[in-house]
Symmetry: C2
Subunit: 187 residues, 2 copies
DNA sequence: AGTAGATGCATCATCAATGTTGCAAGTAGT
DNA sequence: ACTACTTGCAACATTGATGATGCATCTACT
């Protein structure tokens, strides 16, 4: 593939993530328009709509895996690692958008594997944090992970323009402390 | 309208909420199937797909408004009121699903008004909580509200079968305290 | 400069979803 | 029991999205 074609593919995928996360029923036309290319070009690169979506899932998964891999999780205290992972993930602008939600159902087993792998790393990180005493001993890890995902999603879709570091601080801070002034006697 | 027709409309709306929140691009056929009626019946009750979606937004908004109105927010300490509102909202099984996300963009000004009203009550509740010292003084109310919505959404879409009270406890607890064992020195 | 590859544009076929209608069978409310 | 309403079913027209193709133009790489 020529270099300009490679760029086009990336542009289309980014536009697709953007458009589809806003409206999962968006048409190829809308995606093409957002990418600034003709609709036929999209079809030349991705045979069918499903093929585009699968490619998007694979792409988003790869980017997230890279973001997570970039952090030496094992070498830092759990909470520090959590912050670094969060910042790294938020660095990837695509948000916890359309591509990621489809990754687990991808027909490509490799994609599903990578996605499950990232999920497992996340789970593991929370377990370490709990075992290290950073999280309460009775923490429901599945619930904690879901809340973590939701917070990342909120942070990534909200007011943009903020530094990833600032957003990561907000996410981790909220995840750990909540909003109460006196948490120990909140409930 | 006859009583059985009234039931059918409700069944369709509930099925639509269920199906569309799982897949916003779902077809009328899928909705009809989920409702256990013929597709033509859906079209008889809702002239167009948009009409169905608008009706769904109106219906969901009304149910949420009722759930919020059922709580005497002013008569209780903010945190207690927050818990009660949460439980009341979670009682309404539809989750923070498809209907609610469309309510703010509804063509019916009355629906938009009610939706904005609920939002304002929520905002107000958080402000009271902050002013009363229950939330930290530097709390970003918009962020807190978004996190609150996200938590309700997660709680309502997760493992079902749990009592609304249990879920509400989990939501409010997470919102206020987070997961840290020692919040005061978490960050 | 030359060539293979890439894009835009116009056009076409196909298909699935939408929306409509008529009719027969069933049911709520009197 | 009667009637008006409701539903299911089958058939149909319409529309919009999808996907394919041929051709002219342009551009990246050698």
């Amino acid at each position: 593939m020529r270099a300009d074609a490679e760029r086009t593919v990336r542009t289309i995928l980014e536009a697709a993530e953007q458009v589809l996360s806003a409206d999962p029923a968006a048409t190829m036309e809308q995606i093409a328009e957002a990418a600034g290319v003709a609709r036929t070009t999209v079809h030349r690169r991705f045979a069918t709509r499903d093929a585009l979506i699968d490619a998007l899932a694979a792409w988003a998964t790869r980017r997230f895996a890279e973001a997570v891999d970039a952090v030496p999780v094992e070498d830092a205290p759990p909470v520090v690692a959590l912050y670094q992972v969060t910042a790294s993930v938020l660095e990837v602008k695509i948000g916890w958008g359309f591509g990621m939600t489809r990754a687990s159902a991808s027909p490509d087993p490799e994609v599903a594997r990578v996605h499950a792998d990232v999920q497992a790393r996340c789970e593991q990180l929370f377990r370490r944090a709990r075992d290290a005493g950073a999280l309460r001993a009775d923490t429901d890890l599945a619930w904690a992970r879901r809340v973590y995902y939701a917070l990342i999603h909120e942070a990534s879709t909200g007011d943009d323009g903020k530094e990833p570091g600032v957003l990561a601080t907000r996410v981790v801070d909220t995840l750990l402390r909540g909003f109460a002034a006196h948490p120990e006697r909140a409930v």
